[in-house]
Structure formats: structure tokens, C-alpha cells
């Protein structure tokens, strides 16, 4: 109930109405701004889970645009923050605040996030739509607590204008329209035993997810090929080949899993529509760390934008490599070559194997978060408490990223090379986000 707990703080304040409003001293503008930033990200973690098109790549894109929206909304009223316009591919300057006019940044951020979330999740179901409306109303009231009406109106207009600017930019990236949950109607499988074939009996997934995602416009890195990878180990069915040895490692590991390895595989499974997805998992980690550290508004905004941007870039870069090499999954190879009855413990995702998407995006996330919080920042991860999975503790973000990577081998869905090189790819991609200038 992590989301609900947070949300209901807002709700209770709103429901208690004027009595509480008069009784309480409104929080400071930066504090209210940060609350708006965090609460919308938390709601979006739920919306990602409950919106069918939001596979991990699509989810990462939403986190990126929300992060940019929030950052730019804050930056328009901050002398300390430096706009990302001209740094992110295709982003131009967002509308400025009117000279000499008073704005409230909390109302600006709240309005910008509400507008952007409603548009990015226009395709969510009836329950998500209700939640968006209720959140806009109640969080809007909370952000405006104690702010003069004229300032509220002006600030809301500005927030929406910033969001509109970002949404117009988003519409041109090639990833805005998702048909059939991302599964193309026509797709020709690559011939040959080295290449991906469907791994399940779901009719919709007899073609791979989002084969063109690697061509989506990137944010901080030049393009999807900027952090390209060397080829995976050469395909071979010879027992002395590296390919066979890596497959054997997956088979043997899965067949002899320890309880701890099984728990790790489940913890990082992050299945779409059953979790906030892998990028959402890292957003959840970041939000917890920001709240634990009581991070100020600039730090919160720049952390979430760097993280969102690098997660999105990671999926674009990873997908570029996946469809460059179009490698067969362990499930297919092991059943064909080693053990026809072998089963992985996780559902094999419906797209090519190399590199591991979770590894790439976890490497990128760890690169960014280590820069913000430090390379030895220990934290507890309770992302899946609501789903009954216990909290796990890590000595650093990289320790978590490496565990996320190896979880895919424990789960039986990736070979070791895809994991190790995925982490390397993530490190490369994360560096682009870290290179963004966010302060004056």
C-alpha cells in the first residue's frame, strides 16, 4: 500500500477541507513542489502497471517525458537550474514565466504533471482515468493551499503550457503510437537456428514486441546505436563452444536454484501489467531514496529527469542491439539442443535475447543514481511489498543492478553474455544522462 499511503495523505488533506487548511500552516513552496513531483510519479507507477500498451520500453518513455516536464516546469522558476533545451535531442526552450509576475512553483509542477500524465495515459482504462481525475483535483488543491487564487490560475496555465510543449516534442519521437500492445501485425522472422522464434503459446506474441523501438528518437545519447555492442558469442550447437557452455550454465543453474536465487529471480521479474515494469522498479527505488534523504526540489527534479531519460535511452539502445543480432532465447536453444523438457522459472519475454534489457537499463540507472547519491549508497528496496515480495537490501546501486542482471540467468531467460554486456551498455548509456547540465 505504498502508493495508497502517499496518495491518501493528499486525499485526507483535501477531504478535511478548510478546517484543516486553516489549522495547518501550508508547507513551503519547494516542499509542496517536491510532493507534487513525487506523488505523480507514484501514481504513474500504478498507471504503467494497469495500461496494456505500457510494456517496459513504452513505460520508460513515459518516465522520461514526465521527468523532463517536471524539471523544465521547475527550471522556469529557478535561477539555479539549467534547462535541458538544446541538450536533449529536439527539445527547444519551453515557455518562460511572465516577467514580473508571481507564480507558485508547486502549482506549476502539479499542473504540468497532471496535464502530461493525463495525455501520456489517455489510453488507460476507466479506473486509471478516475484516478487521474481524482489526483488532479485533490493534489491540485493541496498544491494550491494558501496560494492566492490569481497566482494559482496563472501558475496552472504556465504548468499546462510547459507540459504542452513537452508533449508536442514527444509526439515526434516515433514512439507515440502503439498498436496492438506493441506486437506488429506483419513481421517476418529471421531464418536460421541462431535467431529468435516465439517462446510461448500466446497468439499475440508470435511476433516480437516493438521491433522498431531501436529507431525511436533518443533523449541524451545521439541515437540507438551510440552504445552498440559486439556480437554475442557465435551460435553453435557444439558442446565445446562458448554458446553451448552458456546455455548449459543457464540449464544447470535453473535446475539447481537455491531459495535465494529463486527469490532474486522473482524480485526482479518486473513483469509488465503485473508490476511497474523494470524502469518503474528503478523509479520506485529513486523515489524512496529521495524521500529518505529528504532531498530538496532541485535534486529531486534533476534525479528523476536524469533517471527517466537514461531508462528511456537504455531501452532504445538495447532494442537497437536486440534486433541487430536477433538472438535465440535460452528456452528455445536448450529445448532444441540440450533438454527438450526443460522449463525456465520466469516467462520468457517475447523478443530477442541479446542483450538483456533489464541489465542494460539497470546499468544505466545505477550509473545515474550512483552519481546522485554516491557509489556506496546502501538502500532497501520495497518496490514489491504490495505483491507480497519482501524488501531486499543492497550496499549500492551497482550491487542492485548486478543482481537485476544475474536474476535473468536465474530465471532462465538470458545467457551470461547478454547480462554482462547489457550492464556495460547501460554504463555507457548512463554516462550520457550524467553529462547533462542541470545547474547554472
Amino acid at each position: 500500500m505504498r502508493l495508497l499511503r502517499t496518495v491518501w495523505i493528499v486525499v485526507v488533506v483535501a477531504l478535511c477541507g478548510t478546517t484543516l487548511a486553516f489549522a495547518q500552516q501550508p508547507a513551503s513552496e519547494p516542499a509542496r513542489s517536491r510532493d507534487a513531483l513525487i506523488i505523480w510519479h507514484r501514481l504513474v507507477l500504478e498507471l504503467v502497471r494497469h495500461t496494456a500498451t505500457y510494456s517496459p520500453p513504452v513505460a520508460s518513455r513515459a518516465f522520461a517525458y514526465l521527468g523532463v516536464t517536471a524539471f523544465e516546469a521547475v527550471a522556469t522558476g529557478s535561477d539555479g537550474l539549467y534547462s535541458l533545451a538544446g541538450q536533449l535531442n529536439g527539445l527547444t526552450l519551453v515557455p518562460a514565466r511572465g516577467p514580473g509576475l508571481t507564480y507558485d512553483s508547486a502549482v506549476v509542477v502539479q499542473a504540468a504533471m497532471a496535464h502530461a500524465a493525463a495525455r501520456l495515459f489517455a489510453n488507460t482504462g476507466p479506473t486509471g482515468q478516475r484516478a487521474l481525475k481524482v489526483m488532479a483535483k485533490r493534489a491540485g488543491a493541496d498544491a494550491a493551499l494558501g496560494v492566492p487564487e490569481a497566482v494559482v490560475r496563472r501558475s496552472e496555465d504556465h504548468g499546462r503550457a510547459v507540459a504542452e510543449h513537452i508533449l508536442a516534442w514527444a509526439a515526434t519521437d516515433g514512439g507515440a503510437v502503439i498498436e496492438n500492445m506493441g506486437f506488429p501485425l506483419d513481421y517476418k522472422l529471421t531464418e536460421g537456428p541462431a535467431h529468435w522464434v516465439p517462446t510461448n503459446l500466446i497468439r499475440q506474441q508470435q511476433v516480437p514486441l516493438l521491433p522498431g523501438w531501436g529507431r525511436t528518437r533518443t533523449f541524451a545519447m545521439p541515437d540507438g546505436a551510440a552504445c552498440g555492442l559486439p556480437p554475442p558469442p557465435a551460435y553453435s550447437e557444439a558442446p565445446d563452444s562458448q554458446f553451448y557452455r552458456e546455455a548449459l550454465e543457464v540449464r544447470d543453474t535453473v535446475n539447481n536454484l537455491t531459495d535465494e536465487q529463486r527469490a532474486i529471480a522473482r524480485f526482479w521479474s518486473d513483469d509488465p501489467m503485473l508490476s511497474p515494469t523494470p524502469p518503474g522498479h528503478w523509479i520506485s527505488i529513486a523515489i524512496d531514496a529521495l524521500e529518505k534523504e529528504n532531498a530538496d526540489l532541485p535534486t529531486s527534479a534533476e534525479t528523476l529527469v536524469r533517471l527517466g531519460v537514461t531508462l528511456a535511452d537504455a531501452f532504445i539502445g538495447c532494442w537497437h542491439s536486440k534486433f541487430e543480432y536477433d538472438l535465440v532465447r535460452p528456452l528455445t536453444y536448450i529445448r532444441r539442443v540440450i533438454d527438450p523438457k526443460w522449463e525456465a522459472i520466469l516467462n520468457t519475454p517475447p523478443f530477442p535475447e541479446y542483450p538483456s534489457g533489464h541489465s542494460t537499463q539497470s546499468g544505466a540507472a545505477a550509473t545515474v543514481l550512483s552519481e546522485v547519491f554516491g557509489p556506496a549508497y546502501a538502500f532497501d528496496d520495497g518496490t514489491h511489498e504490495d505483491d507480497g515480495l519482501p524488501v531486499r537490501s543492497y550496499p549500492s546501486f551497482w550491487a542492485a543492478a548486478e543482481e537485476a542482471g544475474i536474476s535473468r540467468l536465474y530465471g532462465g531467460i538470458h545467457f551470461r553474455s547478454a547480462i554482462e554486456r547489457g550492464l556495460d551498455q547501460g554504463r555507457c548509456i548512463g554516462a550520457y544522462a550524467n553529462a547533462l547540465r542541470t545547474r547554472n
Partner: protein, 532 residues
């Protein structure tokens, strides 16, 4: 003039070069909504985005299926079947006492075994057992039966008679905590198990079935032919956290226990909305069709060891059998489908169970098809299915929810009613089920459980045995009680027998095609004709 289904299919194929060639006789359904006298809509917004069930049963003694339609924010509506045998479908709205509002679903069940069918109303609010008084009049019986209707968003029901019980056991599936109207995710409320109060003819206070995961369909079913039905629960993953599909062991006198990994049960997480079951492959064990969004599931036991009881491990054979029905087959929408009520019936009397699936967008869900035609999947001799909804005339793109396949005019051809959300309920008459023969059967045994819920009926002809489990539950928010239809193909005669709920086995007894038979326990089949 009646055109045989196969001929009609051929004519259609000739007339339209793009028409599909079918391997099975395609029935001809004609929509008779306008003339039927049924004018009803299941209405409501968020709290009625699910539900919309229909119950079919006979309450006036003419053995023709009457029906109750859930109304959501509108009152439920009862329609007496006034059809002449073999003629157009005709219904008359009639005050029955069942006209409550906030009804999401309804299941017929003779709770007190007095021979007058009772109705359990699933509601957003208090569930109500309505006792049949005869003549299609009903009265509230919660107090009389000791039934605690609670206060929840109820969406599913299954009933059985546990061994030795004088009263049924009713499982109620509940959905979201409706107080969490803004952020309902993870707020699934407890399902309930209403068991008999000892030897008394009333219910004990309900047991919570923990954990509960927002059930949208439940079915008591003897999946392993142990003689003791288990409770299958299909859950909506949209709202649960940490949930999955469920199977509960409900042993008499013992607390319910969910099947788990040690029993072979494997987690399956779908947008579970409806359950249909029948023994498709003739192995004696039921298969289960589970409706969902995008791909639907057809489960069969993964292994059936000859020398031991099967484990609760199921394989999905929907793809192999051609029943994933994951996206519209008409129109140009490329978005996935949303499936609700499902039911196996032999609609073309070829001796093979066919499958109907009601389809419809949840509510303003742009990622899923808006114009989502109902499916009519005809089983082919090789066990796979072919889509014939459009050719048969039932490919409505209204927003379907509940449905029932029943022979409303007792002509030996299965008709169809579909409840649409915020749209008019539709009726189709099956004008031509092909040239196949059929038989209609009805079970009767002394109280308790006069309708023999939990029995298996077997029909043997042409070297094949088909069988059906008599259940109350499944589908989406509605069920049927009445004639059990078997297609016989070309066979003019068949042998039938009943495996009664207490485990006793009836004798094989002959019946002739084209007739309705009462199978009264311990007696020879008694032929019955409409209008007598």
C-alpha cells in the same frame, strides 16, 4: 424453407468470393430482439463495468427457459418465455419479485430442494436469495435461509452440494472495495463461502476465502473426478496484487484450502472474467476455457496418469485448438479483444461441443477493440475450432457481457441471448442447426439437490461418448438450469447414463434422437414433449 447449414454455408461461399469455407455445418442464427418482446439494458458506470449476467430457468412449469436479466442501475427484469414450440422467440415481461436494482448477476439454484427454482441475485450491495414460489413469483429468503448477503461488489457465484449436506454450499466472488473508488488497485475484497449450518436447512455465517483476488467467475467442478468438486476461481489481474488464478479444495467438514505448488498448481495471471467447461477430448476430465483480454485460455490436464490421481497442473491448448480469439475477426481494428461470458454448447448438432464467447470493451479502454464481435467457434472433427460468428449471424459488436445459450423454443436447436452493457440485450433464434440430430435431457433426483448439481451425464452413440458435468456457476455473472442439450450428429439413437452426485452410477438406457427426456433417478428415461 430451411436450408441445411452446410448448404447455406456453400451458398454464402459462392455468393461472395472472399467468404470462408467451413469444415463444419454453420448454424443460422437470426436476431429476433425487436420482435421478441425483450427490451432491456444493463446500465451503469464504474460499478457495473463488470457483471451483466443472465439466468435462464423454468419457473412456470412449461419446461421452456424463462430468463432474468441483471439490470445494474436499472431494475433486474424477468421475462416469461411465451414462445410457441419451434416458433419465433417471444417473451413477456412479468412482475416476479426479482426486480431489484444494483443487480450484477443471477444464478438459478433450487436452494431448498422444493422443486421450485430459486434465484441468487449478485448485487453491488447486499446479495439476495429469492425463493421460488411457483408461477414465476419469488420472495426474499435471506432471513428464512440464514443467508448473510453482506455488502460488497459481488461478481461471481458457484454452488454445489457437499457430500451428505441437506443444503447447498454457495461461493460468492467479490470484486474491488468500492469505497476505494479513486485508487482501487490492490483492494480486492474477500470472497465468501456460504456452507450449510450443520444438518439444518439454512446457511452458516459465510467463511472468508483468503486470499481473494477480485473474482469474476467461479465454478465448483470435479476437475480430477475424485467425486468431490473443487472451487475454480478466475480472477481479474487488473486489480489484485500478488494474486493469480485459484483452485480451492473444499472437502466436507474441513476448511477450504487453496491448491499450491506441491499439488502441481502453477501460477496463472490473467484478466480472468469467465469460465466455461466441458470434456472436449473425451478423456473423462473437463477442459476449462478462461476468458480474458487479448489471448484467452483453454486448459487441459497436463498429465493423466493411469495409476494415480492427476496433479492440478494444466496446459494451455488455446493456440493449438484455435480458440485464443485474441482480437476482432471483423472490421479493421487491430487492437486486442475483451472476452466475458463463455459457454460450450453444440450449436450445430454435429455431436461436438462448440464455444460461444461474448465480447465487449470494458469501458473507454482505448487499447482494446471498440467493435469487438462475439465469437462462435465451431469444433471440427479434429478437435480444433473455426470461427463462424459472422457467418452464423451472431457477430454483434455491441458491448457484450453476460450471455446464455439455451433452446428457448424447444426445437432442438440452441438459441442465444447476450446482455450488452449500456445497450440493448440481444436475442438470436437458431433457425438451422444443420442436419444433425439431438436429444434434450433433464435430471431429477429426490431432495436434497433435486437438480443433481454435480452429476455427470454421458451420451453414447456412434462409437463416441460425450459427457457433461452439471454445474451451477461459471460463465460471466449468470447461469442456466434446465434442459441439457446434446447434439448427436447423424445418429438416430443414443444411450445415456447419469453418474449421480453421490457417486452412484446409473444404467445405460436408450433414448431416441429428437426428443426431450427426464432422467429421474432409478427410473427409465421418460420422454416429454412440449405443449403437453
Amino acid at each position: 424453407m430451411r436450408l441445411p447449414g452446410t448448404l447455406l454455408a456453400a451458398v454464402l461461399a459462392l455468393g461472395c468470393p472472399a467468404a470462408q469455407a467451413f469444415e463444419t455445418p454453420v448454424p443460422t442464427f437470426v436476431e429476433e430482439t425487436a420482435a421478441s418482446g425483450v427490451q432491456h439494458s444493463f446500465t451503469g458506470e464504474w460499478e457495473f463495468m463488470v457483471g451483466g449476467g443472465v439466468a435462464t430457468f423454468d419457473c412456470d412449469g412449461d419446461r421452456m427457459p424463462d430468463m432474468l436479466l441483471a439490470g445494474g442501475t436499472s431494475p433486474a427484469r424477468f421475462y416469461r418465455n411465451a414462445s410457441a414450440p419451434g416458433s419465433a422467440l417471444t417473451f413477456e415481461a412479468q412482475a416476479s419479485g426479482l426486480e431489484l436494482d444494483m443487480v450484477s448477476g443471477a444464478y438459478p439454484l433450487d436452494v431448498d430442494s422444493d422443486g421450485a427454482t430459486d434465484i441468487v441475485l449478485l448485487r453491488v450491495g447486499e446479495n439476495v436469495v429469492m425463493r421460488g414460489l411457483g408461477g414465476c413469483r419469488f420472495e426474499r429468503a435471506n432471513e428464512k435461509f440464514g443467508f448473510d448477503g453482506g455488502d460488497a461488489w459481488s461478481t461471481a457465484l458457484a454452488a454445489t452440494w457437499e457430500k451428505g449436506a441437506q443444503f447447498p454450499t454457495i461461493a460468492i466472488g467479490n470484486y474491488i472495495d468500492r469505497a476505494q473508488d479513486a485508487f482501487p488497485w490492490g483492494s480486492c475484497t474477500d470472497n465468501w463461502l456460504h456452507r450449510p449450518m450443520g444438518e439444518e436447512r439454512k446457511f452458516a455465517p459465510p467463511l472468508p476465502l483468503k486470499p481473494s483476488f477480485c473474482a469474476l467467475s467461479m465454478l465448483f467442478t470435479d476437475w480430477n473426478r475424485s467425486g468431490m468438486p473443487s472451487l475454480r476461481v478466475s480472477n481479474d489481474r487488473e486489480y489484485y496484487k500478488g494474486g493469480q488464478e485459484q483452485l480451492w479444495r473444499i472437502d466436507p467438514g474441513k476448511p477450504p484450502v487453496p491448491y499450491g505448488p506441491k499439488d502441481g498448481w502453477k501460477p496463472l495471471k490473467i484478466w480472468g472474467m469467465g469460465i466455461a467447461s466441458t470434456d472436449l477430448d473425451g478423456d473423462g476430465y473437463p477442459e476449462y476455457f478462461l476468458t480474458s483480454m487479448a489471448d484467452n485460455k483453454l486448459q487441459t490436464l497436463a498429465a493423466k496418469p493411469a495409476d494415480s490421481a492427476p496433479k492440478a497442473t494444466f496446459s494451455d491448448v488455446a493456440f493449438a485448438k484455435g480458440v485464443t480469439v485474441h482480437r476482432p475477426y471483423t472490421g479493421d481494428e487491430v487492437k486486442p479483444s475483451t472476452a466475458w461470458h463463455a459457454q460450450f454448447e453444440d450449436v450445430n448438432n454435429d455431436g461436438l461441443a462448440d464455444l460461444f464467447v461474448a465480447k465487449g470493451n470494458v469501458s473507454d479502454m482505448p487499447d482494446f477493440a471498440k467493435k469487438d464481435p462475439n465469437n462462435l467457434l465451431l469444433q471440427k472433427p479434429d478437435g480444433t475450432f473455426e470461427e463462424a460468428g459472422e457467418a452464423a449471424g451472431v457477430a454483434s459488436v455491441e458491448t457484450g457481457r453476460g450471455a446464455a445459450l439455451a433452446d428457448f423454443n424447444l426445437d432442438g436447436q440452441v438459441d442465444l441471448v447476450v446482455v450488452n452493457r449500456n445497450g440493448r440485450t440481444q436475442l438470436w433464434r437458431n433457425l438451422d442447426a444443420g442436419s444433425g440430430n439431438w436429444v434434450g435431457l433433464e435430471l431429477r433426483q429426490p431432495a436434497p439437490n433435486v437438480d443433481a448439481v454435480g452429476a455427470w451425464v454421458e451420451v453414447r452413440c456412434g462409437g463416441h461418448t460425450t459427457r457433461r458435468e452439471i454445474t451451477v456457476g461459471g460463465g460471466h455473472a449468470g447461469g442456466q438450469l434446465g434442459w441439457i442439450h446434446f447434439g448427436l450428429g447423424a445418429e438416430a439413437k443414443a444411450d445415456v447414463r447419469v453418474l449421480w452426485p453421490d457417486g452412484s452410477q446409473g444404467e445405460w438406457q436408450p433414448v431416441e434422437a429428437g426428443g426431450f427426456y427426464e432422467l429421474v433417478r432409478g427410473q427409465a428415461p421418460r420422454r416429454w414433449a412440449p405443449g403437453r
